[in-house]
Structure formats: C-alpha cells, structure tokens
Symmetry: C2
Subunit: 414 residues, 2 copies
Amino acid sequence: MKAEIIAVGSELLTPVRVDTNSLYLTQKLNQAGFEVHLKSVVGDSPDDIEALLRAALQRSRLIVLCGGLGPTEDDLTRTATARALERAVSIDERILEGLRRRFARRGYRMAKINERQAEVIEGAEILENTVGTAPGMWIEGKACLVLLPGPPRELKAVFEAHVMQRACRLGGGRRLEKRSLSLQGLPESEVDARIAPMYKKHASIQTTILAAKGVISVWLQQWLAPGEGSADLDALWSEIRAELGSMVFAAGDESLEEVVGKMLRDLGRTLAVAESCTSGLIGAAVTRVPGSSDYFLGGVQCYSNAVKTGLCGVPAALLEQHGAVSAETAEALARGIRAATGSSVGLSVTGIAGPGGGSDPKPVGLVFFGIADEERCTHERRIFPGDRDTIRDLATTYALGALRRFLMAGENRS
Amino acid sequence: MKAEIIAVGSELLTPVRVDTNSLYLTQKLNQAGFEVHLKSVVGDSPDDIEALLRAALQRSRLIVLCGGLGPTEDDLTRTATARALERAVSIDERILEGLRRRFARRGYRMAKINERQAEVIEGAEILENTVGTAPGMWIEGKACLVLLPGPPRELKAVFEAHVMQRACRLGGGRRLEKRSLSLQGLPESEVDARIAPMYKKHASIQTTILAAKGVISVWLQQWLAPGEGSADLDALWSEIRAELGSMVFAAGDESLEEVVGKMLRDLGRTLAVAESCTSGLIGAAVTRVPGSSDYFLGGVQCYSNAVKTGLCGVPAALLEQHGAVSAETAEALARGIRAATGSSVGLSVTGIAGPGGGSDPKPVGLVFFGIADEERCTHERRIFPGDRDTIRDLATTYALGALRRFLMAGENRS
C-alpha cells in the first residue's frame, strides 16, 4: 500500500523553509498501513502541480496534497487537482455561508477573493476545518486523493478528525509497528558495531540509529499484516536493550532530562547547577520538564571567575593554582553550588567551548564535570569535537548522563 | 533556468528524518542563477529513482541527485541513473586504486562491496571527494545531471570544489539577489499590514515574512539578468526599514544576542542575568556568541524562591507581599543580580511558563522583565501565548529586545 505526499508552496522552495508537515503525515500514514514511497515539494505553479499529480495517480494508492488551499492568487491546488483528475469545480453554498459567518463573527465583511475557498471538486467529500477557513477534501478513485490546508495546526486538526479513519479503512488493517530506545555515553559507531549482528538476522525489521546532541536513539520498525503479532520485534528490542545495558536511559521517547527528573523526584533529592561554558543550557534543559520545580532549585551561570568565587564559593587561590578549567574547580563548583542553594546534589560544568581560549594542555573542547552530594564528590574529564554550539550541547547531555549514573550508583549503594 | 533536487534514501521517508541538504543546495543553485522548482525525496528503490529521473530530464535544465552513492546494497543511485539515461556503467581503475589506498592508510583491506563506489556512468566527469569515499559525477546533456554523496559534509565539499563553478557557467550570469532584516517587538500580522503596500508595488520582488521565537525576519529576493542592477531591491528594502524604524535590530542575518553583545561591548558595559521561568535560556543565548566573556559576567537561575532571596538578594518580605511573578520582584531581581555580580547592567525574567501554576489574576504566559543599571530600574509586563517551550522562548527573545531598547535609551540620553 503505497502513499505519497506532495507539499505545495513556493516558500518551501527557498533556502530558509523546510516542509515538516510530511513528518507528521508519514507517522500517521504508517500507522494506517501505508508506506510513504515518495515526497515532493512543488511551487505555486498549476502546471507543475498538475504534472506531478498525473504521475502520482499512476503509482500511488493514496496521495496527500498539502497547502495551496488559501484565498490568495498563489493558492492553486484546487484548480490544478481538478485539471489532473479532469473533473469540474463548483462553489459550495454551505461552505460559502460558513465562511461569511466566520468573517461576520469577527466583525468583518468577507472579501470577494475568499469565495474560492468554497470551491469544491466534483465528487469530493468535504473535510470540515474547525480551526481555519479552508476545508480539506477526500476524493475516492483508483487512487485516493486528500487535500489538506498547509498550516500545521489546521492540517493536523483536519487529519485527526476526518482523514485518519478513512486512511485506516483503505489500509485494511496492515500496520507499521515501532520500538525505540535512547542511550548516552557511547559513540554511534560503537552502538552500530555492537547491535548489527542482532538486527542483521531480521530482514523484515528496519533498524535506524540516530545521533543528536550526544543522545543515540535506536529505532526498530516492522510491517505487520492484519492479526500478525510483534514477537520478533519485541525479541530484537529486548536483545539490543540487554546488549547496551545501563547506557540505555529510556525505553522509548523519554528525554534524558525527564528521566533524571523522575529519579530526583523518586529519590526525594533536589538539584542545583553551576554552569560555566554551558552558561544556562543545563538549567534550561532540566526546567523544560513541567513540574521540575519539585526538584530543581536553580543555579549559577558562573561565566566569569568573579562569579565562580562570589556566588559559588570557589576559593580565588584554587582558581589561581589550577585554573578555571580543571578537575579541582569542577569539584569546588559542585560543592559550592550545593552549599549556596541548600540542594542535596550539586552539578557543575567548566570547559573551553572555543573558538578561542584553547591551548596545548587545555584544548578547545576540554570540559570537566563535577557532582557532589552529602557523601561523595566526583569529577569527569572529556574532550568533545565540533564547533562552539556542538561542544556546549554535547557537554549539556554528558552532564545529565553523568548525573544519572551518579544517582544510580548512590541508589545501588544504599 | 529551472533546477530540481532529488534526495535518495529510505531513511528520509521516516517520521524522524528530514532532508536538509536541499536548503544548502537551493541557496547555492539560486546564486548560480537557477530557480529550484521541484524537490523530491525517494527511497532506495531503483524503479522509483529511474521513473523520477526520466520525468526530471524532460522538465529541468539542471538536476541534482544526492545520496545513494555509498558501498552498500541500498546504494542504487548510480545504477538507476544509468538506466534513466540509457548509458553504460563501468569500473574506473583510478578511483578503485584511490579507494584501496584510502583503506590501506587506515590499516584495512578493502571489502569487495566497496568496488561499486568506483562505478562511473558513461560520459560522466568525476568529481573528487576529498572528505569521503564516494566521488560525485557531472553529466552534461540537454539536461545536466549532478550526483552528490548524501552526508552533508561530503556533499558541501564536493559542491564547493567542483559543482558551483560548473553551475554558474550553465546559469549564464543570472543571479538571485537577496536582502533581509530582522526585528523584535511587533506581531507578524502587523508587520505584514504595514509593509504590504510597499512590496505589492514590486511584482518582480518576492517578499517573505518569517517568524521564529519572537523574531520576525523580512526577506526580499529578485532575479536579476546579467548586468542588471539592484536599485529596485535596495529602494524597497530601505523603504521597509524606514517604516519599521527602531524595531529593526539587524540589517541582515545577525542574531539579537549578537546585536546586544556588540552594544554592550561598544558601551563598555557588563551584563548579568537573573532568570526564573527561562532558567538559563537567556544566559545560553548570550554566550552562544564567541567572545561574550568580554561583557557577560554570568547569572543566576533563580528557579526557587530561596535562590531568589539567597543569591539575588530579593527580600523575603517583598516576595511574600507581591509574589514571585510581579513587577516588584522583577525589579528587585535586576537590582539584586547587579549587586551580586558587580555588573553594570542587570536583566531579570520571572513568569509562569505553565502548564500548571496559572490563576485568574496571573495566567499562564504572564512574564515580568526587569532591567537595572547605575541610574535606572524599569520593568515590563507581557502575556505570551503557546505552550511551555514557546512561552520560554518568546520570553527569552523579549528580554533581549527589552535590553536592546534600554541600552539605546541610555545611549540617546548620554
């Protein structure tokens, strides 16, 4: 069951915009039993749209067109689709009335140009759009065709309300089953080397390894026929999970900050951070999680040495002797931020994000991490590759991973 | 001069990966005089690739194919392209030798499967890849065809070294000229309403308004013939800039944190931040700029009230009386962080990012900003729409914009 997605809009052919609707649509179409075998982006050109559609009608069972349903002269999807299908277009009085009411409610008279949003292709079912003006359309045939509005909020609303059930019916009960897990602390290549012997035994399971900001995700997916079970998929997932062991922090989509947050909450502990080279990234990540005020007290962006001394209590003599980027300073910061905030755990990062400031003994990318609680104080040293942004992102992820291991070790001991 | 881009790879048809190579390629092709009128993503299916290419050869002057040139069984671009062009494929001994040497340098013997990376399509010019194994190809004809490796680093290296000059020659001196500006503090719809009467007079100039995290960018672009000047484009840009006045913070791509950083450096002032609901986002943004240690001292993530009092010197009685989310607390935080760090300017943010914690008088999205220097202490109050992430991002941008206006007002006065 092949599906294809066509995004319409000249703005999607500029160097500054990327089509993201297709990611949402792909996920949904997979769930409904369709494989997306082709995606296209086409400008506001009726000839290009028509030609693309004529080709799509020959090769795909389901075609999803998004964008180009608005009121302006650029919005040509309806006309081009009707031409490709060789069907007529007419004004639907009920839609027109709805549009007029919508404008009236806001105290406007509807401009003439909006009438084209009431155009319906012969034989189409109208898919009501409750969050915008342009309705979608579902057109049955040898190939089924769906027209959806381009703004993501409207596209999702119309898809959920009207398209998903129709697509599932068309898909006939096939489904794409997925499993995933996330880990931190191993390079992508090592993960692949360790799990390739496992996934290569399963030709029907597609395995993808993704790396983003120091987090590695392993995705497994398999097409299942109606009634077919997922035993193979579950077995492979368990085998991979066992191989990667305690590096795995989530058996799904959970983020590292969510996992660490849950651990802190379950352990009844509080956290404060002292961030030099990351200067806020760790605090921002931890507080992305709603309810993080239950365990996160706050922190200091100790960018200058004066702030390291003044607010985090690092002795000036220690900074003088070992330098700001050192194991000693990292540990002193972790202890100091604990003391300054009264948190049970203190986490610190100090390093050289570049591009300047590196030297032979302390190169760009060198980062020290400190973690302290009432009993222990540890540090780790890492050298990260990449540019300033990359080093800061990798250090942020590494800090959260190190904190997770610190909390696990504490748990195991007690 | 029409170009189209075809990205090959089944992983680009999953819900987790998006093709970003085409953004880079579009920018380069535009500079070379080509309009990108179509982009496609196709899986590792030789039939789909061949069919797509046959259609592309009929409609585009230049076709850029990326991905699918690697050594594995999934890498089918070479074969499919040869079939679409009805040309033969043969092994190039020089490439083969280079591949063998590359493996030998790393102490490996080359596996047989890698030989397919030495396959060359009849009549193709080989484009050397100095950062990876698979070379690119340039194939002249009624339509010109370029084959590029998929990994972004390799794609860019091959394009810069070998494709750009060929594309410019083919483009014949046409070029897409661009202008842009960025502003903060006005909604997208108001920007459009104010500048639409200006840009609508210029049919040959394409105007795009983008909004991201509270920053609005206006992009103008116009195709110019060889030798044609950009007077119209420059005039429209100046007219728009004058209309939007002091809201415009950059006459190009500069970020708000870069602009504010330059102002601080030029004024010889230093900054410290006290962040409650943004908890690090402002400090992280300011320090994204290399060299920001010249003017940024650091800050406090004053997430809990205890940290607001303990590290930022906000009197407990003031917090008790007015609440953490109030104009009084915002001002006290701005003054307090100045005093705690010795900075010349203090900037604070305190608000309710949600989803919980809102009330009738203080709804989710309510944020107060405080700014203090040696002479002045001001605050602003805003209610932002959206979810937790959106509110925090909008508050971060707004804080930097407010700081910019504060510094400008100080400058004008002195």
